[in-house]
Symmetry: C2
Subunit: 361 residues, 2 copies
Amino acid sequence: MINFTVGPVQMDKETRKLGLNQIPYFRTPEFSSLMKENEKLLCKDFDAPQNSRVVFMTGSGTASMEACVQNLYTKNDKVLVVNGGSFGQRLVELCELFEIPFEEIKLEYGSPLTKSILDAYDNKGFTGFLIQLCETSTGVKYNMDLVGNFCKKNNCLLFVDAISGFLADEFSMTRYNIDVAITGSQKALSLPPSLSFIVLNEKAQNIVNQNKVRSMYFNLADYLKNGERGQTPFTPAVGSLIQLNEKLKRIEKNGGIKAENLKYSERAEYFRNKIQSLPFKIFTAPEDSSNCVTALMHTDPSVNAYSIFEVLKDEYKIWICPNGGDLKEKIFRVGHIGSISKKDINTLIKAFKALQKRGLI
Amino acid sequence: MINFTVGPVQMDKETRKLGLNQIPYFRTPEFSSLMKENEKLLCKDFDAPQNSRVVFMTGSGTASMEACVQNLYTKNDKVLVVNGGSFGQRLVELCELFEIPFEEIKLEYGSPLTKSILDAYDNKGFTGFLIQLCETSTGVKYNMDLVGNFCKKNNCLLFVDAISGFLADEFSMTRYNIDVAITGSQKALSLPPSLSFIVLNEKAQNIVNQNKVRSMYFNLADYLKNGERGQTPFTPAVGSLIQLNEKLKRIEKNGGIKAENLKYSERAEYFRNKIQSLPFKIFTAPEDSSNCVTALMHTDPSVNAYSIFEVLKDEYKIWICPNGGDLKEKIFRVGHIGSISKKDINTLIKAFKALQKRGLI
């Protein structure tokens, strides 16, 4: 199977090879030093300000989203949540669950957050801001310059879910005034799913250390404390943390984050050029499109998007990424993250053309 | 390195080989059917009553402990917690955190729960009972017949943390009247760490479906609902769930749970016989000892247990399992779970004898 989903994605051969190894005991100075290196390299790749720290969470991206909402904000906050798809919706639900006072900027799916929308919330006493870098359900990449400036001016604690955008899209905690950002192992890092990573600047660490949370597993202060000696409070996904270490060092060796961004931007562009002759419409405007995924709809709205996913899976050994919920039959997505070659993309294009010939699209 | 810790443990070659594979997209009928098979086999291996269900949690064993305390008990309960070591202590802390009214049976480390201790709590209005099958920090295996009968008579909802005991020690949810039991991937199942499993009987499912919890990631009702179609609410550790499937089918093929129990009991006995000539004392009485681990102390209390761990690691390429907290310098443990051969055990014994010759133990 060729995998064009947005996670788990195709792993590099170096990562897979490590999957064959025995997993070491981890309460050792040797593993601690690997973890300290992981922390240093992740901070660098997030372009995090000095003295930032990383929490290594064994759990999906949602685990880290929940941990952040619960640890960073309280009933005394008033936060602004950008909801432009199913992952923005998840942030809204987490604020409801933890009774964090919030207002929601509900965007039409596929639409960007603009300055004129945001201006309406200026000087309204907001203390926090929650947003995705890339709303994975639609492929929209938000304007982080805009968001970062708003948060600086309004003194908002800015949380960015960069789960699928990290490595694929340009990103900098320092430049965009981001206090906390997260990503997941099974996205552009191309590791097995099970881990998510939370990068916190000093301000965020102070808040986490002061807040009292009703969770043991999501008590970020405990992770920060254990992390000082390169450890986690509970047994983590040790094998994948070793794969992370190899991957981060390889990124470093191959030109760092800039080279990664470029690779993904070229890959997304290559795909988007190739589909121009097909009866598809890209769901997002070019300037608002993330490099990590392209959401597509058929020019004929009666063609069922989920059927395209099914026929490619069953007859062409290709996974594209179906949507859930309301968009399930309208939109499908093609992911660009993971170990995908031009040849893989050409195979997908050929399959689309075959479907066209068969009158299926 | 040879690994005698209690997790992550040495994996079988079949498991490791699967670690080399790409990880498939999982929102498919193919993966759902693998998950339904995982559920069926785990229920069988837990000897769970008909209509039991399994929650597949991506997270350490503590994640599942927290999820269970939070989802199964409320402020209207009065629960009894057995605390005979650091994992019993963790159950106590979870009850405190979630404000579940509780009483604690604090046992001396290494000591069993006896009928005379338990009798004092009979007919005192307890509604819940929390205990380990094996208290991993000391190697004590609790008498589940005793506990099961107490809970039946007192109508207590019985939660058993079988994280490290499962497969190694005899266990049956049906026979011991257990409502909920959990285990972890990196223990006797010998998979990579990142997953824990919660098996719930019908009574426990009904409670979970009625209780309202303040967590998205630990909302067990949501897992049960998604599980009906063989899915999880959030991206799970897909690769390890595939490894679980292969392992569970292999257990089945090789004689099932009885053959597993026998293998571990023979292995523990082999080790315990071999150390009789060494200056160690087993921390637990034979009739209270789990097959999963042996906790040892030197006959001379001035010998530092942690130093034995360090010298075996650095000079003999062997990991035994140090203890944390108060027991760190008094006790070390030798795990029997995972893919350990007689040859591995003989190598460890030889290393102990070499330490003896060197005057280090």
